[in-house]
Every structure is written in C-alpha cells, then in structure tokens.
C-alpha cells in the first residue's frame, strides 16, 4: 500500500460519489486517471484490504434491533462455541477478547441483530442451547459515536 492507496482508502470510506462514473470523479479529485483508480481499488480488494464498497445501514432505521452478547467460554471449547455463535445468522461480529487489566468473566463477545426484540431473544436462547452456556445480553441505551473512519496517518493511536 503506497501513499496514493492510503489517500484513496481514506477518501472512499464515506461520501463515495453518487454519480454515473464515480471512479472518474475520484480520479479528478485526487489527480489520477479513472483507469488508475480502478486498478488500485481492484488490487486493494483482491488483497482483502477493502471488504466491499456499499451502503452501511443504520440497523434501527431499517427496522432491526441489536444488542451486544457476551459468553464465558471454557478455553478448551472456544473454537466450537465460537463456530456455533458465528453460524447464527443474527450474529454480525464475533470476537475473542482478553482483559489487559482487571478481570472479566466473558471471553467471547458478539453483536446480534434481529427484526424484533423477540427475535433477538430467540436468537440468544438458540445460542445458549447450542453452546450449553448462558448469554449475557447488553442492549444499547444511547449511542454517542458510531462512525468507523480510518485515516492511515502515522499518528499511532489515531490510525
């Protein structure tokens, strides 16, 4: 990834041009040809740096409800339980996490979305049954910030 790639990535995380030829439009902004923009973005996608270019929905505004789920999984079962959790279509993110300080009863953390609160609970119950372990559901009360935007600058923590 060179500086031009970093600039492109920083530019296209939001406000992707809504015009017939968006890559030509981006090229104009950044002083590149349309072909160069397409070639670079295709390469970044092939390498897996770009997952996709598309709409990021607000789950609530499109009729979905969500919660964070947490489980305390014995170490020798983490693979199997994580696979069962990931297999649930309601799950969008699923991570193993370890505390850097203090203690935490949970080591598997995942986000769930469903079309209703009831659907959410049903998904959690199905997961509990599959894993044989309780799920702690931690619903959102308020959202203060929801935007992921990476700048790729050299400032350590501001990346």
């Amino acid at each position: 990834m060179d500086d031009t790639d970093a600039k492109l990535l920083a530019r296209i995380q939001s406000d992707f041009p809504l015009v017939e030829q968006p890559f030509a439009c981006l090229g104009k902004e950044l002083g590149l040809s349309e072909a160069d923009v397409i070639e670079r973005l295709a390469a970044l996608r092939r390498k897996g740096l770009i997952r996709r270019i598309g709409p990021v929905l607000d789950p609530e505004k499109v009729g979905r409800v969500g919660a964070l789920g947490a489980m305390a999984v014995p170490h020798d079962r983490i693979e199997a339980v994580a696979a069962a959790v990931s297999a649930c279509p309601a799950v969008t993110h699923n991570y193993q996490r370890v505390p850097l300080n203090g203690t935490c009863p949970y080591n598997l953390w995942f986000t769930l979305t469903a079309s209703s609160q009831q659907g959410l609970h049903e998904a959690a119950v199905a997961m509990e049954r599959a894993a044989g372990l309780p799920v702690a559901l931690l619903p959102v009360r308020r959202k203060f910030k929801i935007g992921v935007r990476f700048t790729f600058s050299d400032d350590d923590a501001n990346g």
């Binding site: 990834m1 598309g54 935490c104 009863p105």
Partner: protein, 152 residues
C-alpha cells in the same frame, strides 16, 4: 423506506463492482435509470437509513492491528460528560451506553482502534485523566471469528 428502496439496497449491499459504471448493472436489473437509483440512494442517506456509503476496510490488514473494547463504570449523571470527551478521540470509533448486567456493572463502551496495543492503552489513560473515570477494563480482541454487515 419503500419497496423500491429495499430492492436498491438488496442490489448494492454486497458491494459495487469496480468498473467504470458500477451502478449500471443494478439499475438495469431494477429497470430504472441510474440517475433515479442515485437519487433514491441520496434520499436514504439524507434520512439516515444508510448511515454512510463507501468502502469497508479490513483494518487489521491495513496496519491498524490493535482493537480494544474498553468498558467503564460511570455514574449515570456523569455519562454525558464522559461521552463528550470520549468522542473527541479519532481512535475511538464507537462509544455507547449499555445496560449493565448483574455480573457486569460496566455501562459505557468505547471501541478503540490503533496500530499497536500500547497506542490504544495511551488513549485509555488520556481519557481516564481527562474525565477522572478510572474504573475500567480494557478488552483486547485476540481473534476475529466473524465480521459482516447488516443486510436486509
């Protein structure tokens, strides 16, 4: 969001093709002009149903390798003041208040992304200092089992 809006999202939600006219194929399948599709997309953005339209980055592969979910236990009347400080950090990409659970008294969550674990921890220390809130647990993500997006 009407039925046509939903069908537009269904056409685009798995990603645009990287070709000179990336909206053309979806518009053709929906039997509508590209201009009309773009107008509707702009409407969904303006209403907030589409939170953003753009690229999703695999940040680990892009060198932003450390991800810490830090949880604080903050008194209800202090949550607003804490959040005001938290959202100012670029490295904090998400900040939520969540209901506490019986075995888990923490109520404010911040997602921190950085190039290194030490960089994320520096952000946490800085935020603790600015707010005086020091009852926290920093949870480093060690394995990503699934990451996808909301689909309709």
């Amino acid at each position: 969001m009407d039925d046509l809006d939903r069908r537009i999202i269904q056409e685009l939600q798995d990603g645009l093709p990287i070709v000179p006219e990336p909206y053309a194929e979806a518009a053709a399948r929906l039997e509508m002009p590209v201009e009309g599709l773009l107008e509707r997309l702009a409407g969904m953005l303006a209403r907030g149903e589409v939170r953003r339209f753009g690229a999703s980055i695999a940040h680990r592969k892009a060198g932003i390798a450390a991800n810490v979910m830090c949880v604080w236990r903050v008194a209800p009347e202090q949550v607003d003041a804490f959040a005001r400080e938290a959202v100012r950090f670029d490295a904090i990409t998400h900040c939520y208040e969540r209901a506490a659970a019986p075995e888990w008294p923490y109520n404010v969550y911040a997602m921190i992304h950085g190039r290194t674990q030490a960089g994320c921890q520096a952000v946490i220390r800085d935020l603790c200092q600015r707010t005086g809130e020091t009852d926290y647990v920093a949870l480093l993500s060690t394995r990503e089992f699934k990451k996808t997006w909301t689909r309709i």
